[in-house]
Symmetry: C2
Subunit: 241 residues, 2 copies
């Protein structure tokens, strides 16, 4: 059986109808009415429920009891500039979800070869998030946002908690040694698009969001690789220290 | 122009004919005969040459002088068990090359859902390596190998330099804190297949190759994500310390 089924909000003793996609899992795995199933609301709450049967392709479940609660031990936001390749962005969503970041924020920048994200794409990513969370046993889903206006991105970056790490190939400080000196539990990583951020954009991030210029690697990393590379290193640091 | 063209071996004053694929780059970028081009042999040597023209779809180049030599500052081998999904293995090859590992070794294990790799696949991966090296400016290519027999894998693992990190969700030690205690410049990471290595396989690695059991993350990572996650953390450590 799937590790858990998704429904939100979950309230004990209520009877819910799962989405057709979620209902489908019960069907293909031949779960019998009367069986126990696990439900997550994507916010860290895990419930046990009883599958009562199917109604017009949708599984009916009685929510029985709360069995667990996962809490975030740290916050890691990755801000990824919109990329030209849709498949590389899908990949960023899947991998960052698996690693366990708390928010994936896409933003448009001057050199982004695409500057907008259609609603269907956001829906597709929500499905990727759900599937990756099931895969990796996460009951807290990352927030997924897209900011089309640069000003909105700068505002959100400056007003969110978390030290800002600006991935900058011209930076002097390396990621590992930078992290070793830090005590905080909250970071935001900013990754530019294929042609990187402009000098003006970088200056604005440094000034308005007190960004730290960090050289991620001695190699040139593709934008989406830089996202996963830096999120891996910061996650390893935050989980272990 | 492409950052560099690939040909091996390179010897000053010799005239070479590039492969059709490499020749194609000069053609589409409308490089004129008489122009300077850069050549790499994939072993860290960078040469300057003169493009003399095209003969039956293949570019003729006179190798003029050696202009640079890149040396490895550390060794990092990633041993990745063969995966069911071909695209996920392609992805491992591309990303590990970009990050800058020195060897990508695929091996078959008991629970690998596929156990062999056809020669065409190895050729495809060599092209992915070449393209990723150009992208990331690497003139030393990673070695790419496949060991079909478990005994060959164990032999190679045990007889290669480099502390063996066995990715093991049941391990007690975390990656970041493990690395902080290390002084060596050479590591081998072992990543199991979708269903992970069997207990016997893990025991053999621990015993014969003095492997260290390391818990990469508190999350469950897909096999290919575990490869990239651990290679990122170890690379960050090796480059910065």
């Amino acid at each position: 059986m799937s590790r858990f089924l998704f429904y939100s909000p979950l309230v004990t003793n209520e009877v819910i109808l799962l989405s057709p996609e979620e209902s489908h899992h019960l069907l293909v795995e031949r779960i019998k009415p009367g069986s126990s199933v696990f439900l997550s609301d994507g916010k860290g709450n895990l419930f046990r429920g009883i599958y009562e049967g199917e109604k017009r392709g949708r599984a009916q479940i009685r929510v029985e009891e709360k069995v667990g609660e996962e809490k975030r031990s740290f916050d890691l936001v990755v801000w990824q500039a919109v990329l030209k390749s849709p498949s590389r962005m899908d990949w960023v969503v899947e991998k960052l979800t698996e690693i366990g970041v708390s928010q994936i924020g896409f933003f448009s920048s001057h050199r982004s070869l695409k500057s907008t994200i259609p609603p269907e794409k956001m829906e597709r990513w929500e499905k990727i998030v759900l599937s990756a969370c099931k895969q990796s046993g996460r009951t807290i889903f990352p927030d997924l946002i897209f900011l089309e206006q640069w000003e909105d991105f700068i505002f959100s970056l400056s007003n969110s908690p978390g030290t800002v790490i600006l991935a900058d190939p011209e930076g002097n400080e390396a990621l590992w040694s930078f992290l070793q000196e830090r005590k905080e539990r909250s970071f935001q990583i900013v990754i530019g698009p294929e042609g990187d951020l402009t000098r003006e954009e970088r200056e604005e991030i440094l000034k308005k969001a007190q960004g730290k210029r960090i050289k991620l690697s001695k190699k040139i990393l593709r934008s989406e690789t830089a996202s996963l590379f830096s999120a891996s290193v910061v996650t390893s640091f935050l989980e272990d220290t």
